[in-house]
């Protein structure tokens, strides 16, 4: 994997060493970790005082405060638990038709997985149609978890939706779900995918990858028969310039609609244009969202 992907270099991973994942919401988890939990528990961070109630452990009573106020108060602490990171890869052919775009997708996924396992998080990779599986705690584990050339492509966006519904737990857990896709699909399906992910995750991050061919699909000004990489359908395009202009308009509208939708649902939206350096994705784009520190 590292041989074929120019982004996956030791220096790339070294640049991620200082980063750790974060969530804007408190997480629920069965496993102790370094993240604040929504549960009051036995963490180190003070949360609040409350009146003593029957059944509370006497050890939680703040006796110093009792000596001052003559009232029983219980001291509560924020519980700290680990999160589960799920990387959802869009493995459709449109993602893989352009090598540079696909490498950037894999590198981004590998970087996120690396940050996760270095901070003792549970990292899962889900690249439909392959069922999700946990990433082993090593770089080799990361490489082997990423989708490879052998991973069959999914036919359309609804397949992605199907896999989320099938494999992600329906109950909100500590999961942080990152969707890596180009979102070239009807907006309705995209919205449904995001909603579905939201129902199963505390946090959802959308990494929207765009390739050079997504923005400039035609290499010449002559008439072409455009072959769809996903379903093989052929579309005759006679007026290239006019077609490209309208395509850019439609793409911009699509991006804006998706961005606004994510903003309204509390979903972190990160656009990764083709000219953005991959290290900048982490050091600027993701850090800027507060999800990576």
């Amino acid at each position: 994997m590292s041989d074929s992907n120019p982004y996956l270099t030791p220096s790339f991973f070294r640049s991620l060493d200082s980063l750790k994942l974060s969530t804007r919401k408190r997480i629920f988890s069965q496993k102790q970790g370094g993240h604040r939990s929504a549960k009051r528990g036995h963490g180190l961070e003070f949360s609040e005082y409350r009146h003593y109630e029957l059944g509370d452990s006497p050890r939680t009573i703040d006796w110093k405060l009792f000596s001052k106020t003559q009232k029983l108060y219980v001291k509560t602490f924020q519980d700290e638990q680990s999160l589960t990171l799920t990387l959802l890869f869009d493995t459709s052919q449109s993602m893989r038709i352009e090598k540079a775009k696909w490498n950037r997708v894999l590198a981004s996924g590998a970087g996120l997985a690396y940050i996760g396992i270095t901070n003792r998080e549970d990292v899962f990779v889900h690249a439909p149609p392959t069922p999700p599986f946990r990433v082993a705690n090593s770089l080799t584990g990361i490489y082997s978890a990423l989708p490879s050339e052998d991973t069959p492509p999914i036919s359309d966006f609804s397949t992605l939706l199907y896999h989320i519904q099938r494999y992600l737990p329906a109950k909100r857990s500590t999961t942080l779900t990152v969707i890596l896709s180009d979102f070239i699909a009807p907006l309705e399906e995209t919205y449904m995918l995001i909603s579905c992910a939201l129902q199963r995750s505390l946090e959802v991050i959308v990494l929207h990858f765009l390739g050079e061919k997504d923005i400039h699909p035609f290499s010449s000004t002559n008439a072409v028969e455009a072959v769809d990489s996903e379903d093989g359908s052929v579309l005759f395009v006679g007026n290239i310039n006019e077609s490209a202009r309208i395509l850019r308009e439609k793409l911009n509208a699509h991006l804006n609609a998706l961005r606004h939708h994510c903003l309204g649902r509390g979903v972190t939206y990160v656009e990764v244009p083709p000219n953005l350096d991959i290290t900048s994705v982490f050091s600027k784009a993701l850090v800027g969202t507060g999800l990576v520190r």
Partner: protein, 580 residues
């Protein structure tokens, strides 16, 4: 088939057909562009195809060209299922064209005035008009049928040329029922007379140059050693003229003599062609031609005159198209019929018959103006009764006669009344002194008399010249066929035109009958037809002549569909989506 061709050649068809033929080039070009389009794999055609859905969903204004195509398609589809619509309505137009010889004058760009007039007439008349054409002086028998359309006018007029004769435009205008026609157009080189109604569109075509023309007007046998030729020289300058005399046989012409003589520079001049020997009985032709090669002779058909010499006591004049008898002068032809008159016929044009009739006699009453004042003549206007079995009345329908104050003949003993008017007999015939005798008051000698009178004259002469064979009323063998069978017309290109009529001539009364001037008029039974031309009934608008042609319309529809699909390929939104 002709109607299909006419529709295909109509302006609307040509415009539409031309436009779509031109668009075929675009379609062919588009087709080759499509064929040479290379394949290119894109990540997804989602945004390309999604454009179409979003556009049609919001019903954006379509591309103007495509929108026009759709409108055209709908209109054509609608018209295809509608009854054949009328597009253009023409008018009924009467066109009178002067074909007199002066129309042969030089006009512009080498055209004659006549050709210029034809072009002018073609411009005046729309292709959808329904045209009745009258050519003068060949009027009235030259009136074309009313089925001629403006589009076929040029083709119809192409074969016509100026001819001899006086134009009779006023007569033509009198004949035409003015209310029937939306327009009456006269094309001539003459000025509009004062008495012509203002509604008549008078198109005057003036020549730029007078024609220089030589014409052989007349000839007469002079002394045995020469022929006197009357020459018309339109050049009005003295020119050298070659006179040639040919004898005619069944197969060829033999030159007898040829002489160059100077004309005297006047309009007409008399030239004497010397003969090497007296002419024997036979058919001859005299031809004139300018000796100077620079002299442009505009009409070649007037350069020759045919004549026949036959020794007989009865001389018969043959009058051919289109010379009226009055213009013939002394030029005489001699007719050899199958049964030529063997006896000399006396024609008396006086009231009192000679006391002793020794020969067959045609006794004519004097014209009313010269009638002896002491005589009492009863006048009549209508023929009421006639003996239809008599040889004198063959080929004649007397019901068509209209008399102009004809007098009644005096009763002569032994003669039978063949024609009777309201007041008495108009023609008596019979035998006296073993000779046939006809006594009539009908104006047989008037050259402008009606055709029936001409036929009556011919019948009279034939009957009188037929030798008596014991049976007084023996029918003659002369039938319609033999009427036309004269030596001059049995050979092509020789002699007078075949529709001829015969007129006897003795030295005192050279003019007896007039000519037939066309095949139609030569047929005695056709009188009613040519005298009563079938002008169209009063209709303001002519029938529809330009219509949609369904097969043409169908092919246009297919073309539009093909072109529409190709244009859709090259203009967004795209709609050609197919499985590879």
């Amino acid at each position: 088939m002709n109607s299909i061709v006419a529709v295909l050649l109509s302006p609307s068809s040509l415009i539409i057909g031309g436009a779509f033929s031109a668009s075929l080039i675009v379609v062919a070009g588009s087709y080759f562009l499509v064929r040479r389009a290379r394949r290119e794999v894109v990540s997804s055609t989602f945004f390309l195809s999604a454009t179409q859905h979003s556009t049609s969903g919001r019903r954006k204004p379509r591309m103007p060209l495509r929108f026009l195509f759709e409108l055209l398609l709908l209109a054509l589809l609608g018209s295809f299922f509608l009854p054949t619509p009328s597009l253009i309505q023409g008018e009924k137009v009467a066109l009178i064209i002067d074909t007199s010889l002066s129309m042969a004058m030089k006009y512009e760009r080498g055209m004659t005035v006549f050709e210029g007039g034809k072009a002018l007439a073609t411009e005046e008349i729309k292709s959808t008009d329904e045209v009745t054409v009258l050519l003068t002086p060949r009027f009235p028998n030259s009136a074309f049928s009313s089925s001629i359309t403006g589009s076929s006018l040029h083709e119809t007029l192409r074969s016509h040329k100026p001819v001899y004769g006086e134009d009779s435009i006023p007569s033509a205008l009198e004949l035409i029922p003015a209310r029937t026609f939306a327009k009456i157009i006269v094309v001539t080189d003459k000025q509009k007379p004062q008495n012509i109604p203002s509604s008549v569109i008078w198109r005057e075509v003036r020549g730029t140059e007078k024609p220089t023309n030589l014409a052989c007007l007349d000839l007469s046998l002079g002394p045995p050693s020469s022929i006197n030729v009357s020459l018309l020289n339109s050049a009005k300058s003295a020119v050298l003229v070659r006179l040639s005399l040919y004898s005619l046989t069944e197969k060829k012409e033999n030159l007898i003599t040829s002489t160059v003589l100077p004309s005297d520079g006047e309009d007409t001049s008399q030239l004497a062609l010397p003969l090497p020997a007296p002419l024997r009985p036979g058919s001859y032709v005299v031809r004139v031609s300018p000796e100077d090669a620079r002299f442009v002779d505009y009409l070649s058909q007037d350069n020759e005159l045919y004549f026949t010499i036959r020794h007989s006591t009865t001389q018969v004049r043959v009058v051919g198209e289109p010379l009226p008898i009055a213009s013939l002068g002394n030029f005489q032809f001699q007719v050899a019929t199958d049964s030529p008159p063997s006896a000399e016929i006396d024609v008396f044009n006086r009231c009192n018959a000679p006391p002793l009739l020794e020969r067959p006699t045609l006794l004519l009453s004097p014209i009313p103006s010269s009638r002896a004042p002491q005589r009492k003549c009863v006048e009549t206007r209508r023929i009421t009764q006639w003996n239809s079995s008599h040889p004198l009345t063959r080929y004649i329908k007397f019901s068509l006669f209209s008399l102009d104050n004809a007098s009644c003949v005096e009763r002569t003993e032994g003669l039978e009344s063949i024609l009777r008017g309201e007041e008495g007999s108009l023609l008596d015939a019979g035998v006296k002194n073993s000779h046939r005798l006809i006594f009539t008051t009908l104006p047989l000698l008037t050259s402008s008399s009606s055709l029936s009178l001409s036929i009556l004259s011919l019948n009279a002469l034939t009957w009188l010249g037929d030798p008596l064979r014991g049976k007084l009323w023996e029918p003659l063998s002369l039938d319609e066929k033999s009427l036309l069978k004269i030596p001059l017309t049995t050979k092509k290109n020789i002699g007078a035109p075949h529709p001829g009529i015969y007129s006897t001539s003795d030295f005192a009364y050279p003019e007896v009958a007039k000519n037939f001037i066309s095949v139609q008029e030569s047929d005695p039974w056709n009188q009613a037809q040519y005298q009563n031309l079938n002008f169209p009934e009063t209709v303001d608008k002519a029938s529809v002549t330009a219509t949609w042609h369904r097969p043409l319309l169908f092919s246009i529809l297919i073309l539009i569909l093909v072109e529409y699909s190709y244009i859709a390929l090259f203009l967004p939104p795209w709609n050609s989506r197919k499985k590879a």
